[in-house]
Structures are given as C-alpha cells and as structure tokens.
C-alpha cells in the first residue's frame, strides 16, 4: 500500500532511504587526499616556447611602461629653473625669463577709476563670448571662498567695432569687489602664443623686475609671475597652455593679500 501514499511523503522519506555506508565516506576522503597530494607534487614542466612567451610578455610590458612614462613626462609642466654661474633664470616652452630690471614703482588707480577704463566693455554674455572668442574663458566656481564678491564680468571689444563684426580674440574682465577690497581679472589669448610654443622660432625673453618672483604651477602647464606693488597691492601675471596648445594670458591685480590672490588664481585654473 506504500505506493498509494502521497508523492510528497515518499519524496521526504527518500533522503533517509538512501544510506551511504559510513566507512565509504572516509575511504573516498582518503582517496581524495592522495589525489590532491599527487597533483601538488607533480610540477608542470615549463616548455621552451613558454619561456619565449614569458619573455615576450615582459618586453611588451616594458615597452608599455616606457610609452606611458614618456607620455607622463610630456604632460608635465615644461617649466625649468636654470642655474648659471652668475644668476638663476627660468624657461617655459620658448619663453625665457631673466631677472635683469630694477624694481618698478607702480601706483594702481583706485577701484572707482576702473569702470571708466572699461568704457568700451559690454555686460558679460558667456554664450556670445564663447561663440566669438577663439579661446575658452576660464572662470572660477562662484562659491569660491573669498572675502570678495564678483560684481560683474565684461567682454572688451576694440573701439569702433560692434560685437557682431568682431571675430578676433576677446579681452575678458572679471571684477571682484567688496568694500575697499577689489581685484581686476583680465584674460586674453596671448598675442605671442605662437612664439611661446614654437621652439624653432625666436626665443621670447621676459625680463622680470626685482620685485617679481616666478611661481610654476605643478598641476597645470602654467607659470605665474607675481609682482609686489607695495601699498597698491599685488599683480599675478599667468601664462596657461590650453588644450588647443594656445597660451592664455591671465592677469589678476588687486589690493588683497598675495595668498588670497594666489588662491583666486588657482580657482581660475581649476
């Protein structure tokens, strides 16, 4: 009558109905252990063509490393500090910076006089500027932690030309201002870009004053020359190489501390 019992009952019992004789488990375990031991003792002979494969792989890896290191070296800042017998000078691409001139005493005009200086400038229009400018305007993120606020951005067109008729490189201005603190940021495509980057061309020599210092940027292909303007503040002139291998000239002038100005310069680069 067992056959009449429901299938579920029979199935549940089947697991108990099959009995693997106890000692067999240990015998199989012993056999397994022997086979595993035997396998681990047998060392696979390395064929000569395998050696060839291994050495070829090593050569390929070596080549790859060489190419990668080469690329990385090329990507590095091209800035060089050259020590000669009597002085130290610097080079960046084709630009040579020599410290030869005495300090220059410049008195900056006050913040109120700048709007007059930019009378040919129009209110900032990023879309328009991006269409027309032959370089990409660099702007810091607005939430940059500064003791200043951006008061306006303007594009400068040459006098007598309307925005529609002008297709050349634009001069772009940002004005940072709060109370008696102010910074003017000017950027444009460096006119001498071609010369700066073309090593076959004439060497461009930039003579720096004794109140100026050269600061390279490690994470960008850029250099900066910081000028101490005493009571008038500080000016940072920067050359930045962009993706199109053009050089953008970025200049920050303001009466804030050098550290804050440098921070702002870094945020423009980012």
């Amino acid at each position: 009558m067992n056959g009449r019992q429901p299938l579920v009952y029979k199935v549940n019992k089947l697991e108990e109905e099959i009995i693997w004789v106890n000692e067999r488990k240990d015998i199989v375990k012993k056999l397994l252990r022997e086979k595993i031991d035997k396998k681990s003792k047998v060392r696979r002979p390395i064929l000569s063509w395998e050696w060839f494969k291994v050495s070829m792989s090593l050569v390929a890896v070596g080549l790859l490393c060489f190419i990668l290191i080469g690329n990385q070296a090329n990507k590095k800042n091209d800035f060089q500090e050259i020590h000669s017998a009597d002085s130290v000078y610097y080079s960046w691409h084709n630009l040579e910076i020599r410290p030869v001139l005495p300090p220059e005493n410049i008195k900056l005009a006050g913040f109120e006089s700048y709007p007059w200086m930019i009378k040919y400038k129009k209110n900032f229009d990023l879309k328009d500027s991006q269409k027309r400018a032959s370089y990409k305007i660099m702007r810091p993120s607005i939430d940059v932690n500064m003791p200043l606020e951006i008061s306006r951005g303007v594009i400068e067109y040459p006098p007598g030309l309307s925005a529609k008729n002008f297709n050349g490189p634009l001069m772009y201005w940002d004005i940072w201002h709060k109370g008696d603190k102010w910074v003017y940021v000017r950027q444009s495509l460096a006119e001498e870009s071609e010369q700066l980057l073309n090593k076959k061309g004439k060497k461009v020599i930039w003579k720096i004053h004794s109140n100026e210092k050269v600061i390279p940027f490690k994470d960008k292909d850029a250099i900066s020359i910081t000028r101490d303007l005493w009571e008038s503040g500080t000016r940072i002139s920067m050359y930045v190489k962009n993706k199109n291998k053009q050089v953008i000239h970025l200049e920050l002038t303001g009466n804030i501390s050098e550290g804050e100005l440098m921070k702002l310069a870094h945020s423009y680069l980012k």
């Binding site: 056959g3 029979k10 019992k13 693997w20 488990k25 397994l32």
Partner: protein, 179 residues
C-alpha cells in the same frame, strides 16, 4: 601542515559529501559511479577553489559542480565507453553495491520511478523536492531560467506520479494473481 585551503576543503567534504552523494546517486543510480563522480566533483572544486567568490554560497557551488560532473558523465558515456568501463571494472575489485549504498524498500520504488524520468527532469526534481533548494537556487545550479525550472519540475512531478501509479497497479495485480 595542512594549508587553510585544504582545511576548508575537507571541512566542506565533511559537511556536504553525504548530501552530494545522495544527489548524484539519485541521478545516476549506480553506487560506484556515484562515488567516482563525487570524487571528481570535489577534485574540480579543489582546482577551482580560487574562483569561489562568495563563501556563503558554497553549497550551491558544490551542487553546481556535481551537476556539471554528472552531465559530463552522461554526455561522455558512449556505448563503447560504457563497455570499456565495464571491462575495466571487471579487473578492479570494487566493493559490492550493498557495501556502498543501502536502499530501503520504499526508496527503491521511488528511485525506480525516478530512473524512468529524463535526466533533466530527474535532476530538477531531486534538487527541488528532495534537496529542497529554492527555484532561484535550482536555476543557478542548473544554469537555467526560473521559468524552465518551474515547467520542467511540473512535467517531472506529473510523470513521476504516473510512473508510481503504474508501479502500484502492477504490485496490486501481481498480489491478486498470487492469491
């Protein structure tokens, strides 16, 4: 001294070998073959130890290895090979079937009915109904879809009930005749 790998491996053997043997036996129904396949399964698992990513799914991994080994056995066992194996086995002193696996009378009937199922139906039935794996786990072990597991299991159950009913009728008929 035994490595951590070996320790863990033999721990799995202690824990799962009986269950795996019963599973393989229910599919192939030859005690010596079931033991051979169990050994082969564990050797494969040892070789592929490094590919086990999720230690919490070792049971499923072992059953999948057992399934693959059993299926390979069915595929490779050509008639000629079977004959060669028989001849080979004749020269080797294997313990008799009774000394490897013991089956109680009730189990024999169900096993006989299981044997009449297609291997795929037999496997899905054993995994789901005897080993009590979920549909998802069974699908993972057999590398099938959930839907295929469900439909094959449905067919297997129907066929099994049919075969068992036929067995019952045969028994009843023979007992009637003997009276």
């Amino acid at each position: 001294m035994e490595s951590i790998k070996d320790q863990l491996f033999f721990q799995w053997y202690e824990e799962y070998s009986v269950s795996l043997l019963k599973y393989i036996y229910a599919i192939v129904q030859e005690p010596q073959t079931a033991e051979d396949l169990l050994q082969e399964t564990f050797l494969k698992v040892y070789e592929k130890y490094d590919s086990i990513q999720d230690m919490s799914k070792v049971k499923s991994f072992l059953f999948r290895a057992a399934h693959n080994t059993t299926m390979d056995f069915f595929r490779k066992e050509s008639k000629v090979k079977k004959l060669l194996n028989v001849l080979k086995k004749e020269n080797v002193k294997y313990p008799s079937t009774e000394k490897i696996v013991e089956i109680k009378e009730e189990g024999r009937m169900l096993l006989a009915a299981l044997k009449r199922l297609k291997p795929s139906q037999r496997e899905v039935f054993v995994l789901r109904k005897i080993k009590e794996f979920s549909i998802k786990e069974t699908a993972e072990i057999l590398e099938w879809s959930d839907a295929k597991v469900k439909t094959t299991l449905h067919r297997a159950t129907n066929n099994l009930e049919k075969f068992l009913l036929m067995e019952d009728e045969t028994i009843e008929w023979s007992s009637t005749v003997s009276l």
